[in-house]
């Protein structure tokens, strides 16, 4: 790939990251599954499990359908204290590019603000991503959110 093409692809990746973050921070839950392929994998997983090869994840979804089920859960079934979340995401680091698949890593920090409360650090970790092009648009084939945070402050309801 020549340099100009590479720069163009990277700009597109940045746009995917920025839009994803904007959607979940705005609580625009319907958009969230649309960033993924039909047979995507989404995982929210403690770092210990990830590093030791233990498969359990805090959230473990194997399809866009499961992400849509989660959206329904957030809206209709999971009773919770409402909160704002705000992600700060680093520039993605390209780990590999292989036959149209980008393998990327980016740090993230999520702040939580509950009504009437000060903002606190909620969840800190990194994304491990695999991005592909589907019908011209970039989508996550997989997004693993591997978090350092040793304790979840009670519950994580919304997607990271």
């Amino acid at each position: 790939m020549n340099q100009a093409l590479e720069a163009q692809a990277y700009t597109e990746l940045l746009q995917l990251y920025a839009e994803y973050t904007a959607a979940i921070d705005a609580g625009d839950w319907d958009r969230w599954p649309e960033f993924f392929t039909e047979d995507c994998v989404y995982k929210l997983q403690p770092r210990e499990n990830h590093e030791r090869g233990l498969p359990l994840a805090t959230l473990h979804f194997h399809s866009k359908g499961m992400l849509q089920d989660r959206v329904y859960g957030i809206r209709e079934t999971l009773f919770h204290d409402p909160y704002y979340q705000r992600h700060v995401v680093s520039l993605p680091r390209v780990l590999a590019v292989d036959r149209g698949r980008w393998f990327l890593e980016a740090n993230y920090a999520v702040f939580r603000t509950k009504l009437g409360e000060i903002s606190t650090v909620f969840n800190v970790g990194r994304y491990l991503d695999e991005v592909v092009r589907v019908d011209g648009a970039l989508k996550f084939a997989s997004r693993f959110c591997i978090y350092d945070s040793e304790m979840i402050p009670n519950a994580i309801i919304y997607p990271i």
Binding site: L54, P55, S63, H80, I152
Partner: protein
């Protein structure tokens, strides 16, 4: 001016007779909390430590806690399991900082006092002093004995691959502690099959530790708070239910059989969490396959007082460890597991069903949330009382979900031990 300190009563009294009223101060009072640690966690009770599968080889260790005290579960050279307090005999340093690993010995970094895997003190640098100008100076006194100066070693019970321990060496056997009924439900899961750890989840819940025991002794809430339970029939008013206890009423089993099909009108009338038209876009999350060892019930939730909940809800299994950190907060550590002889499909199924549980789970995330809300209410008005009259005032075993009998049973026991 009178300098006498103002003394407040250590805890306000219990309201009336019985246990159908529980005062809010039991969840907030710091003196009560200290006494609970002493009487439930540090004496008279078996506390959960971990699974044998976490330390398969000699020298393997993993840290855990008993109440607020840090302990180390270790596999000794002869294949046994020891539980040692993580406090150096010398200066009290909590010397082991890794979560888990493998060691030939434990060495405190402060002055390099060394202990073997049994916790025995094996080495003290400069014990006999330092040679200076042909003379030995300093060191421990000549009559110092290494014997008996090791790490505090807890009494250990291992059953079916599960490790429990106690600081109290006069404690009854684990089997007597559970009693025959609860033991039979424990053995239903841990029947000798080798366990396989699937991983961990950790959450810090801003509530009193007892509230988590009570949450799993409360069959009344799941079909109301948790849409997934009521809509998919995993636990609701028309489920065949039984509520059992040990003779002391400290432990309990909530046993249920899943309801299949649409519920009759009165089961869900007015239940806003029931979603008649809800269906999963991807039903693999509830791909339930009955297992022979269930022997009928599709869910058995065991509360082992004071520190453990054992979950079997359809194909998902976990140990939930209650780790108190003060009157108003506890850590809740989940260890999900499978069996070594499970097929890959069964392990995948257990992992996908784990989406129901843990700090983000469809039927668990909201338990932590409501516990936090209860604690907020308690802190504002410690003299108020919880109303626990579902199913009457007594604490007999029951066979329906509209009952708080297990919580009342726990408070009968709690009052006896606490002397209030």
């Amino acid at each position: 001016m009178n300098d006498a300190p103002i003394t407040l009563p250590s805890s306000p009294g219990w309201p009336g007779d019985g246990v159908h009223r529980v005062p809010y101060w039991v969840y907030t009072d710091p003196d009560t909390y200290r006494r609970e640690l002493d009487r439930f966690y540090y004496a008279g009770h078996w506390c959960y430590i971990g699974l044998e599968a976490e330390i398969p080889h000699p020298g393997d260790f993993r840290r855990s806690v008993v109440g607020e005290r840090s302990v180390i579960m270790v596999r000794t050279q002869d294949g046994g399991v020891r539980v040692l307090e993580n406090v150096c005999a010398h200066r009290g340093a909590q010397f082991c900082r890794e979560r888990q690993g493998n060691r030939k010995e434990f060495v405190c970094p402060y002055h390099q006092w060394a202990y073997d895997l049994e916790g025995k003190l094996r080495g003290i640098p400069y014990r006999r002093g330092i040679r200076q100008d042909g003379q030995l100076n300093g060191g421990m006194p000549a009559d110092f004995q290494m014997e008996g100066r090791g790490l505090t070693s807890l009494k250990v019970a291992v059953r079916g691959g599960v490790v429990f321990a106690s600081f109290d060496h006069s404690l009854e056997s684990f089997e007597d502690y559970l009693g025959p009924t609860i033991l039979s439900y424990f053995d239903r899961v841990f029947d000798g099959r080798k366990l396989k750890v699937l991983g961990y989840n950790r959450q810090r819940i801003p509530g009193n530790w007892k509230l988590m025991q009570e949450n799993i002794k409360d069959p009344y809430h799941p079909g109301l708070l948790h849409s997934w339970f009521v809509t998919f029939g995993l636990w609701r008013a028309d489920s065949k239910t039984s509520l059992k206890m040990d003779p002391h009423k400290r432990h309990a089993a909530m046993i249920g059989v899943r309801s299949v099909g649409k519920p009759a009108g009165d089961v869900v009338s007015g239940v806003t969490s029931y979603k008649a038209d809800m269906s999963l876009r991807d039903p693999r999350q509830l791909d339930i396959v009955p297992e022979e060892w269930w022997k009928g019930p599709t869910a058995v939730m065991l509360t082992l007082f004071p520190s453990l909940i054992i979950q079997q809800q359809v194909n998902s299994l976990s140990m939930r460890h209650i780790q108190p950190r003060g009157p108003g907060v506890f850590d809740f550590v989940w260890t999900h597991f499978a069996f070594e002889d499970d097929s890959d499909e069964m392990i995948q199924r257990r992992l996908l069903q784990a989406n129901l549980f843990g700090p983000s789970g469809y039927v668990s995330a909201d338990d932590g949330e409501v516990i936090e809300f209860s604690q907020m209410g308690f802190q504002e008005k410690p003299d108020q009382q919880c109303l626990l009259e579902m199913g009457g005032h007594d604490s007999e075993e029951a066979t329906n979900i509209a009952s708080e009998t297990l919580i009342r049973g726990m408070y009968e026991y709690w009052r006896r031990v606490m002397g209030v």
